[in-house]
């Protein structure tokens, strides 16, 4: 650090480098792979080898084969249900958290987020054991006299996927809702109270509308994570719990048809991007309305 003239030059060079890096990272690690993916979706496979000639065959197959579209819609409905259930369970939990004072609030929040530190596979294994015919859930239900005998309704079907995904993804719903609830200025609630509104009125007219951006982002988080998951359905879905993620997974493994898998991924990406845009738009509109 001697000459005063050299510092701005070096600084400019650094800042140029940083700018290039800042743009290069998303381009190299996000845009380029996505472009390659899109490119692959126009190839085809013959006798276990990828043929690099462009065709729309994969997309035609996706839209015309009677297998894929129904599974696609069912999966979307399944993941919307997961998102809805997660919100219904997460909202009261997050609301309860905001009513706590000081240290308790964050201690409890941490506790709710601890499952995120555990391995995803191990969690699914554990949940599968719990849902099994001899599992904890059945034992508890029979023990409490709710069921006469253990039920096979909880595992290796769509219910199992719904339950497992909900359980796995709830933390992702709690966090954004909690943050949006926490940001609501207390003065608004007090003003509402001063003006004679009841607790329910305050909640419905102040708290709920102001927390909707959080709900929107929570819903899109959960939906996107659920629809991209293939492991959960593969492990707990059995023969009837067949989802789009499983078809996709088999294209890259068993079937060795990467191009078709890429085309299916593009279809999935469209839904995911739409979900994110909807979530964000909804969230922002409400946010600016304050």
């Amino acid at each position: 650090m001697s000459g005063t003239g050299t510092i701005p030059l070096a600084e400019r060079r650094w800042s140029l480098l940083v700018t290039v890096l800042a743009f290069a990272l998303p381009v190299v690690f996000v845009l380029v792979p996505l472009a390659i993916f899109l490119g692959y979706s126009f190839f085809s496979v013959d006798q276990g080898t990828i043929v690099h000639t462009l065709s729309l065959g994969n997309y035609v197959r996706f839209f015309t084969d009677p297998i894929f579209l129904p599974v696609f819609w069912n999966t979307i409905v399944l993941c919307l249900s997961v998102a809805a259930i997660c919100i219904l369970l997460a909202y009261p939990a997050a609301y309860f958290l905001t009513t706590l004072k000081g240290r308790w609030r964050y201690a409890l929040l941490m506790l709710l987020l601890v499952p995120l530190l555990m391995s995803y596979v191990i969690k699914i294994y554990a949940i599968r054991s719990i849902l099994g015919l001899n599992g904890f859930l059945n034992k508890a239900l029979v023990g409490l006299g709710i069921l006469q005998e253990p039920s096979t309704l909880f595992v290796f079907n769509m219910n199992a996927i719904l339950l497992t995904l909900t359980l796995l993804l709830i933390p992702f719903a709690i966090l954004p809702i909690f943050l949006s609830l926490e940001r609501i200025p207390q003065v608004l609630l007090r003003a509402s109270d001063d003006l004679g509104a009841s607790g329910l009125q305050t909640f419905l007219r102040i708290t709920l509308p102001l927390s909707l951006p959080g709900v929107a982002s929570a819903a899109s988080f959960v939906f996107v994570l659920a629809i991209g998951d293939f492991l959960t359905p593969q492990m707990v879905g059995g023969i009837s719990g067949f989802t789009f993620g499983r078809i996709l997974y088999s294209q890259f493994g068993t079937a060795y048809n990467w191009p078709f898998g890429a085309a299916l991924s593009v279809a999935l990406a469209v839904v995911v991007i739409a979900a994110i845009l909807v979530g964000e738009r909804f969230g922002r509109n409400r946010g600016t309305a304050i």
């Binding site: 600084e11 080898t49 015919l133 001899n134 059995g238 068993t254 079937a255 060795y256």
Partner: protein, 327 residues
């Protein structure tokens, strides 16, 4: 400015760490194998004896091996385990390298029927050796002795409506086709005509309705067995699975079906993208050693090529007419 500096420093450190780890990994032998083929104590002994570090990746199906090897054109692994039925496909696709058998001291000590590798169907091509056989077993049926009475003799029991929702199937298209073809009485389950394939497919759809779920690894089958009402398991891992289930106190037994069982013989092969051929040869030779081969049979119940074992598999000939070629 401080932030930028910090960012740059972090990037530099990240790059440094990245380079270091890739340099460290570059020296290691990359092995792709089934569970039970590269136990940690063997890997440790191998590294102690040869100075070569090892990275093992485990797989759960033949299709997965193909996807991993073909997907990288053999560049991602040095050595992998594959069965004789699959190996020709890899040779044809130019994904494996010929092996110089003279470099494998232990290969001279193998059981007589494995000594002449040209006599072992599927491991050679044009006089070159591509695979070194090291273990084998049959694919039979595991049944719960409390739930399935009388003891089954044929795979057709898997279709029995009495066991609806109590059947565990293996997640692999190829084997399911082969064994169903055998169950339907086809003479050559590995070469089916269009009509036979359609019949097998229809039969498999029927089987699906009886199935509780599909598994890939032996551990997974065991976990599902423990938590659910499972009566029959299509046993891709043969003796290895029986052993593991009996260990946890399950009342199970194993049968080789009367219509003929599928059997397999696994080989160590060297991939096209091998980085250090000598290290790969050392690995194969080490795995062939009497100690490791014997321990492999002891732990998994599979037969091996070095020592005679009294397992059921040893009495089933993997080279027999229908009892061959696939895992």
């Amino acid at each position: 400015m401080g932030l930028k500096k910090l960012f740059l420093r972090m990037a530099a450190i990240g790059l440094g760490i990245g380079l270091m780890t890739s340099a460290a990994l570059a020296a290691n032998l990359r092995v792709l194998a089934w569970d039970g083929y590269a136990d940690p104590d063997w890997v440790k002994d191998f590294t102690a004896a040869t100075g070569v570090g090892v990275d093992v990746v485990f797989i759960g199906s033949d299709d997965e091996i193909w996807a991993k090897i073909k997907g990288s054109e053999g560049q991602d692994f040095d050595v992998f385990a594959v069965n004789t039925a699959q190996l020709q496909r890899y040779i044809k696709a130019d994904l494996v390298s010929p092996i110089d058998v003279t470099k494998l001291a232990n290969q001279k000590e193998v059981l007589p029927r494995f000594r002449d590798l040209t006599a072992v169907s599927g491991v050679t091509k044009d006089g070159k050796v591509y695979g070194i056989p090291f273990c084998f077993d049959s694919i039979g049926l595991i049944y719960d002795t409390d739930k399935v009475k009388p003891a089954p003799t044929s795979m057709s029991v898997l279709w029995d409506p009495a066991y609806k929702g109590k059947v565990l199937a293996y997640d692999n298209g190829e084997h399911n086709f082969s064994f169903t073809a055998l169950t339907l009485g086809y003479k050559d389950p590995f070469n089916l005509n269009e009509e036979q394939i359609a019949a097998v497919k229809a039969k498999l759809v029927e089987l699906k309705r009886n199935v509780l779920s599909f598994y890939t690894t032996a551990d997974e089958a065991q976990q599902i067995y423990q938590n659910n009402d499972v009566a029959l398991i299509w046993a891709n891992y043969g003796q290895q699975q029986v052993k593991a289930l009996q260990k946890i106190g399950a009342h199970v037994a194993y049968v080789n079906p009367s219509e003929g069982a599928l059997a397999w013989l696994d080989n160590w092969v060297i991939s096209k993208g091998v980085r250090d051929n000598a290290a790969a040869e050392k690995w194969i030779d080490f795995m062939l050693s009497k100690k490791v081969s014997g321990e492999l049979s002891e732990r998994t119940g599979f037969g091996n090529t070095m020592t005679e074992t009294g397992s059921a598999a040893a009495t089933t000939s993997w080279s027999g007419s229908t009892m061959s070629r696939t895992r």
